[in-house]
């Protein structure tokens, strides 16, 4: 197999292996299994992200060039872990109680949750980390090239770097942004990093053992081959050496990726105890063979070989391809683990401190839904990771292969070290203020950029070469490498002195001059006294006032429930009266009870506020927003349901009312029908009984009684007909026989039919000619029935001395009007509303034979003929108007 193919295959298999490890660990963590994965060993191994490809390859290179200088890089962290573990423990404790998600979050949270500070630190971290990622890409590209140099198959460095960057981005996105864990822990990733730590250690040790006992004849032989120039007296404890130790010590805390593994991913505080000796041991083992490999490289390989690649090129030169491949994997592991953790840490900062606040500001008008926030954060993280790797790649393209890149590691260290004064001041000094932190960090960062970062491009970026040499505008006093005439030959030492010095000075001075805001003061107490009585979970008693708790509990649980709970607890605590002490048990019970009402996160946050413990973090807010959204949605649903219920109830009430009304109408109707039928029947029965029981009746009486029975029988029949007729019409069951008919003919017919009645009342009828020549398409019989009813009503009720009935016709554009009027006194105002009602008998109507159905029937007929019948109040007499469509 060609070396290139072999290498690519090895890498792919290795990456798939990592994927599997990460996946299994993630699953195991989710199911609560695989507890050993959260052991102190895994924690210690994960810290090895400190050893990047730069350390893996570069330490040997550094040793080959500068002898023991590299030791400082290992010594700094060793000192911190062995001597300053209490500082780390404090950071971890703060991280846990304050739910810290990144170094930017820590600084921002300490200084009153200042987002300005968070943004500054985030930007600094991005600027400081990007070259570092580029460095990893370069290391990988170089090692790739070295491995495949002989085969003539070397792919272009840019292509290698590109695909490596893409691969890393994918891996990081897949395992770094699977979910939004409130504490930002990534079990899968951490486990994969631990595996990589083992791979790099084994690789370096293997190469070392091979060099000492394979290439040389043991340690003595190796050191005998050493160039005496390599280790000179006075190399250690020089200003540069001390500076390097200082930088590597700060890096172990301030580098975003180190903060991530040391503080954020820490599962248990006690893991630190193991790490405080195990991590220095790891570093010791990593550095053990650095010098021998450097010596061997110098003696075995031709002069001019790149010492940065000795770890791989020495075995290659000895035809040990397998070992070289292992070394390559070690370097690959170093680079990938660094990039993955750095990208996760940076993406967390960018999404939490830049994207989310920006989005919240832009969407102020809209009520943000927690789902939106969740999706937004995940998307922001994924894009950030892609963006960070893209930045690293472009930086690599820009500076690829130059010395500028090789020295960038230390430059980046110093960049992020600017956070140190604010961080240390923040956790040890309550007087430190937000303004001081901003001023210190910004001034230190500016000086760092001016005296080290920008000049490192050698005039290619912003600062020109002449400016670097002679100072801006020729003012040599402002030269980046000799600010204010300070004569320090080593630019790194010069930059550290200036930036850290000024940073610290500004920080202390401004702190003394400014007053912290209340929220800063509160946070400062919680940070500085994290082990004190303000810790929410430590100690037997909480700082919360029982009265405050009771008020809160009443608000959330309801008055009676809260008082009952407090009394019960007081009794359990052996108190005869008064409020219970806020013990751990009680606080936990309260939080659980609250959680049932307002959700776990809100409950925690509320109690946290009262006890003066945890402050609200972004994750808390998301969780609270989540719950609030759920509750709001639930209550909105309830509201909708209750509105619907109200509406339904309203409809039911209306329907019920209508039914009751209809039922009453029906009762009234039946009662009226009963009355109307029983009245003629009463007469019939009474007279027929008289006829039956009377033996001797005068003939004229007999005849009269018989005729009464006859009349009442007819009345009864007509009544039944009317009722049936009306009932049919009201149900729309009337059958109409429509035909064309001349109106005056129809009126004449009605008048002739009513003649008997007219003659009886000696009523005169005026039928005008204007009804001629109007032809209607209607049911003649029904219309005649209406006319007859109106005429006979008029004849019956007209109270004029010389009663007269007048019929007038008018034709309009689309309708015909027929007025039937008389010259009587008309209908009393109070009765107008009654006349069209069934069985209505008007006051003063004593005549028999009228059931009060004539007008209702007439109106129903007109309705069925698509016309209308109305009473028109006239000046004199009654006026009924028929309207028919033409």
């Amino acid at each position: 197999m060609q070396p290139l193919n072999l290498l690519v295959t090895i890498c792919l298999i290795y990456v798939i292996g990592l994927f599997t490890v990460a996946y299994i660990a993630e699953r195991g963590a989710a199911e609560g299994k695989l507890k050993f994965l959260r052991s102190p060993v895994v924690y210690t191994l994960s810290l090895s992200v400190y050893c990047t490809a730069w350390t893996f390859y570069g330490a040997v290179g550094s040793a080959a060039r500068n002898g023991l200088e590299f030791v400082a890089i290992y010594l700094g962290p060793t000192l911190v872990f062995m001597g300053w573990w209490w500082l780390l423990r404090k950071l971890i404790r703060i991280g846990r109680t304050q739910r810290i998600t990144s170094i930017a979050d820590l600084i921002s949270s300490r200084y009153g949750k200042s987002n300005t500070l968070a943004v500054i630190v985030t930007l600094m971290a991005v600027i400081g980390t990007t070259p570092y990622i580029a460095l990893q890409l370069q290391s990988l590209t170089l090692s790739f090239a070295a491995f495949t140099a002989d085969s003539g198959q070397t792919p272009s460095p840019a292509v290698t770097a590109f695909w490596v960057a893409v691969g890393l981005a994918v891996f990081t996105i897949v395992f770094g942004t699977r979910n939004l864990d409130a504490n930002e822990r990534h079990h899968g990733v951490v486990t994969a990093i631990a595996v990589e730590a083992v791979v790099k250690l084994v690789a370096l040790l293997s190469v070392g053992i091979f060099v000492v006992w394979g290439v040389a004849d043991g340690p003595n032989d190796i050191f005998a081959r050493m160039d005496p120039e390599l280790i000179k007296g006075g190399q250690i404890f020089t200003p540069r050496w001390v500076t390097l130790m200082f930088l590597s010590s700060t890096a172990i805390i301030c580098l975003p990726r180190m903060f991530q593994v040391v503080v954020v991913e820490n599962a248990q505080e006690k893991h630190l105890a193991t790490a405080s000796w195990a991590f220095p041991l790891y570093l010791f083992l990593m550095s053990l063979f650095v010098l021998p490999i450097a010596i061997a490289g110098q003696s075995v390989l031709p002069p001019g070989s790149n010492p940065d690649l000795f770890v791989m090129t020495v075995p290659l030169a000895q035809e040990q391809t397998g070992l070289a491949a292992l070394a390559f994997l070690g370097g690959f592991s170093s680079a990938t683990s660094m990039v993955i953790v750095a990208a996760i840490a940076l993406s967390t900062m960018m999404s939490n401190h830049i994207v989310l606040p920006l989005w919240l500001t832009l969407n102020k008008a809209r009520n943000p839904q927690s789902d939106d926030v969740r999706t937004l954060l995940l998307r922001a993280r994924r894009i950030s990771i892609g963006g960070i790797l893209a930045l690293g790649y472009f930086y690599y393209q820009l500076t690829g292969g130059t010395d500028a890149l090789a020295s960038i590691g230390l430059i980046a260290f110093l960049g992020v070290a600017q956070v140190m004064p604010a961080l240390l001041g923040g956790i040890f000094w309550q007087g430190a203020t937000r303004k001081a932190a901003i001023a210190g960090i910004t001034s230190g960062f500016a000086l760092w950029a001016y005296t080290l970062f920008l000049p490192s491009f050698g005039g290619a970026f912003i600062l020109s070469q002449s400016l670097i040499d002679n100072g801006p505008l020729g003012l040599s006093i402002l030269r980046p490498y000799g600010l204010l005439g300070l004569q320090i030959d080593d630019p790194l030492v010069h930059a550290v002195s200036w930036s850290i010095g000024v940073n610290t000075l500004v920080f202390i001075t401004v702190s003394l001059l400014t007053t912290p805001r209340p929220i800063e003061r509160r946070q400062s107490v919680q940070f500085v006294n994290v082990f004190g009585r303000f810790s929410p979970r430590s100690g037997q008693s909480h700082s919360a006032e029982p009265e405050e708790l009771l008020v809160l509990a009443q608000r959330i649980l309801g008055r009676d429930v809260a008082i009952k709970l407090f009394n019960k607890t007081a009794a359990e605590q052996g108190k005869a009266r008064g409020l219970p002490d806020p013990t751990d048990n009680f606080m936990e019970k309260l939080e659980r009870d609250f959680a049932g009402s307002v959700g776990a996160a809100t409950a925690h946050a509320m109690l946290g506020q009262i006890t003066g413990g945890a402050a609200l973090s972004v994750e808390d807010m998301i969780a609270v927003a989540d719950e609030t959204a759920e509750i709001m949605e639930y209550s909105a649903r309830l509201k909708t349901q209750s509105e619907e219920l109200t509406k339904t109830a309203e409809q039911l009430r209306a329907a019920n009312l209508k039914l009751t009304e209809l039922s009453e109408q029906k009762d009234t109707f039946l009662s009226q029908v009963s009355h109307e039928l029983r009245t003629p029947m009463t007469s019939i029965r009474a007279f027929s009984e008289i006829l039956r029981d009377s033996d001797q009746l005068e003939p004229d009486k007999l005849k009269h009684f018989s005729s009464v029975i006859h009349t009442e029988s007819i009345r009864l029949t007509r009544l039944l007909d009317d009722i049936l007729d009306l009932s049919f019409m009201e149900n729309g069951q009337i059958k109409l026989n429509l035909e064309d008919i001349a109106l005056d003919k129809l009126i004449t017919r009605a008048v002739i039919t009513s003649e008997a009645r007219l003659r009886e009342g000696e009523t005169k009828l005026n039928h005008h000619d204007d009804c001629k020549e109007i032809t209607l398409h209607t049911d003649p019989d029904r219309l005649a029935q209406v006319l007859i009813n109106l005429i006979s009503n008029a004849a019956k009720y007209c109270d004029a001395a010389n009663p007269e009935i007048t019929i007038n016709c008018r034709r309009n554009a689309n309708q015909v009007e027929i007025d039937v009027s008389d010259n009587g006194s008309g209908i009393a105002k109070s009765d107008i509303n009654l006349i069209f009602q069934k069985f209505s008998k008007l006051s003063g109507d004593f005549s028999s034979g009228s059931a009060g159905l004539g007008l209702p029937i007439s109106r129903e007929i007109m309705r069925n003929l698509n016309g209308s019948l109305t009473y028109i109040p006239a000046e004199k007499g009654a006026l009924f108007r028929i309207i028919l469509p033409v």
């Binding site: 009963s674 029983r678 009245t679 029965r685 009474a686 009984e689 009464v708 003063g844 004593f846």
Partner: protein, 121 residues
């Protein structure tokens, strides 16, 4: 033992039938068809028995009965009430107002004659 019967009824044929029946039994029948002043008429007339229809123009039989019962001059007069509705509701209202006997139309002639006689005693 004959006396006066006040017949408050608006149906002419029923008035005619009842008058014929009761007069044949020796009663003096005074018919009155308007509800408005029926109670007054009873006070003036002081009849032995009052026959009262429920459905009357201007004033219902129940109202007239209440007036009769609230007037000291007529409060003990026996009242025979006739109704064509025959509903339980009317019967209850009549009982409440203090009716003596309640009968439904159509009625048996003999029942009317017997009832009036009993009420008069």
């Amino acid at each position: 033992m004959a006396g006066t019967v006040l017949l408050i009824e608006d149906e002419p044929h029923i008035v005619e039938a009842l008058s014929f029946l009761l007069e044949r039994e020796g009663w003096t029948v005074v018919a009155h068809s308007n509800g408005a002043d029926a109670a007054e008429r009873a006070v003036q007339l002081q009849p032995k028995v009052i026959i009262l229809d429920v459905m009357l123009p201007n004033k219902s039989g129940i109202e007239i009965l209440t007036e009769i019962r609230s007037n000291a001059a007529t409060k003990d007069k026996p009242v025979l009430m006739l109704t064509a509705k025959g509903q339980a509701r009317d019967r209850a209202a009549a009982q409440e107002a203090g009716v003596s006997v309640f009968m439904t139309k159509p009625f048996s002639n003999q029942a009317i004659i017997d009832t009036v006689r009993e009420l008069a005693q």
